[in-house]
Symmetry: C2
Subunit: 352 residues, 2 copies
């Protein structure tokens, strides 16, 4: 039972080299399975490596080779279901490709987002995947990323004016389908509760809504269409007002589930039957939507796939294409299809 007082140093390729009686460079090559090393030596080296409990040192390798085999991700909030699902997807992709994932959260603050970018640059990550904070209006920090020859992938909350790979949901299409579904259920006076105008996500959802009501040639009063009603309380108040209106809506399409929940509470408080008298459709398919009474219809965003897709843009598109320096490099733009989850709040039982 030997208890070592002095903490013995980690074994390095030099230790292996000495023990096997060869040069350190050969050990490195052997461990990396380079063809210029004989199988005999490779076997010898690998055996000795396990024997000495050798641990590869990423830092040393990164310093010399320049690539860190690491992706950094910046999200507004780690513990929001949508983002943690997306991160889970990225982690999966990273694991498959033997990369590390460093996460940062901007907390919806532009200042912190800039700091996160700096940190990841110092960390020398190969790629940064980012979903912008609510506060972010400028993209100078993203230019920094490019300057440092790192790949950049924007996802979900993207700035469309900034050139980079982009992975987004089919917000407009999904909204279009959602509203069309409401129309098919016989609703004719469909209100829209949206978000703040500067975020593309919410704009697209509005576009989808507008397209659907236009196609169906519905007559919608201007005050049915509301921006900045993302939160439960705001939505609830607004819905009560609308429902008390002389010409009230018979359905609501909201860009978040929290908003939908507010509408639901409003309808219940006014004694209106959902989905009979009021139809409701939310967005995001938050966990709680299947537990409300009645359950809430929503749009499932495939967040995990979206995250995986974002990472895969780097792994497939960038890594394999060998980053050919011709300026002809194009930016990948992927749209992840989301699907309608029809629940009680929007499905009228057909009257035979």
């Amino acid at each position: 039972m030997k208890s070592n007082i002095k903490k013995e140093k980690r074994t390095t390729i030099y230790d292996i080299a000495r023990e096997v009686g060869i040069a350190p460079s050969t050990v490195s090559k052997a461990l990396n399975d380079l063809p210029s090393v004989s199988n005999k030596i490779k076997t010898l080296v690998k055996a000795k490596a396990t024997e000495l409990n050798y641990k590869y040192n990423f830092n040393a390798a990164n310093l010399r080779s320049g690539s860190s085999r690491t992706i950094g991700v910046i999200v507004p909030k780690i513990n929001v279901a949508f983002f943690s699902d997306a991160i889970a997807g990225m982690e999966e992709a990273c694991f498959e490709n033997n990369h590390r994932l460093i996460i940062c959260q901007s907390d919806e603050s532009y200042t912190k987002e800039v700091q996160c970018v700096q940190t990841l640059i110092h960390q020398n990550v190969d790629c940064i995947i980012i979903s912008l904070s609510q506060e972010t209006r400028s993209t100078v920090h993203l230019n920094e990323v490019k300057k440092n020859h790192m790949e950049l992938v924007q996802f979900d909350r993207v700035d469309e004016s900034f050139e980079s790979h982009r992975i987004v949901n089919d917000n407009s299409q999904a909204s279009y389908r959602a509203v069309k579904h409401l129309i098919e259920q016989g609703y004719k006076k469909i209100a829209f509760f949206g978000g703040s105008g500067h975020l593309a996500v919410y704009n697209h959802r509005k576009q989808g809504y507008l397209q659907a009501i236009k196609e169906a040639d519905l007559n919608i009063p201007y005050n049915y269409i509301l921006d900045n009603a993302l939160k439960k309380e705001t939505a609830q108040k607004a819905a009560i007002e609308l429902l008390k209106y002389k010409d009230p809506p018979d359905a609501f399409f909201t860009v978040t589930d929290h908003s939908a929940l507010g509408v639901l509470k409003a309808a219940i408080s006014l004694g209106l039957r959902v989905p009979d008298q009021v139809g409701i459709m939310g967005f995001s398919n938050e966990a709680f939507t299947e537990f409300t009474f009645p359950t809430l219809s929503s749009v499932e965003q495939q967040s995990k796939n979206l995250g995986k897709a974002a990472a895969d843009v780097y792994f497939n598109h960038v890594l394999t294409s060998g980053m050919s320096d011709k300026d002809a490099r194009h930016f990948e733009m992927r749209v992840i299809e989301s699907s309608l989850i029809i629940r009680q709040s929007s499905e009228r039982v057909p009257t035979l």
Copy 2:
């Protein structure tokens, strides 16, 4: 408008040294604000650094100094609310202390957990924070961490037989209080739905339950106490059986909210009124608990604080104590207090 064809190299301290006309070592010291450099030089160096858009290279520093200013965290699932909240807390602590956070998920698999540990060792992180996977029975991989002189902090799903810092919830106390609450509401025949025996978490929750019913001197039939009823479906089935029993329980304490939800569905399907005829109390305060009908009482775990506490053990206890090599190093053991969230499912309206 200069477009650089050749990708110019990142500026290093050597570039700064050359431009200012001093030695690289002095630049390093200046940037790190070491006292052995005059303020004049410091100002000069820092100005030149910003001018040249200098980016600190963590890898190089880590290699030389040995410490990476990075914490690695391993959780079973990143996108489970409890864990993503905990990670958010850790990220906060890391940000405050200028450290990076690398996340790995074991996916509840022992094999993958071992791989994660290896990766983090290669990465040369300073500390590993881990919550064990369901599958994990052995701790040889944790020994590897110690061998490599890294700090280890276990949280939530811990192995009590393995010596390390540990951060856990007050599972037993919280359960005790939860059950006591049920008793105060007048419930007398309280059933328990638990988890698998090998996880300390669930054992402790059971202990709390047992203590409370013992203190209240309640007479509980053996079949009221069930293990392995974590999931909704299992719980639902088991609850139906129990409620149809000639001598049915009048309340349930379950170690997860999903289990509680199963019980709720069971009660409703049998036409029983909750909380009138059946009281229900879950654990974890999952998001959906406030949206069920009736809403579910539960135990709020302060997961974000727990994560922050786990990281802070490293920052406060380990980093500051200078890691004095005396074997007298003790392991910190912190218990995070959780709180009861009383909702409709367990609160009987007092009969006057």
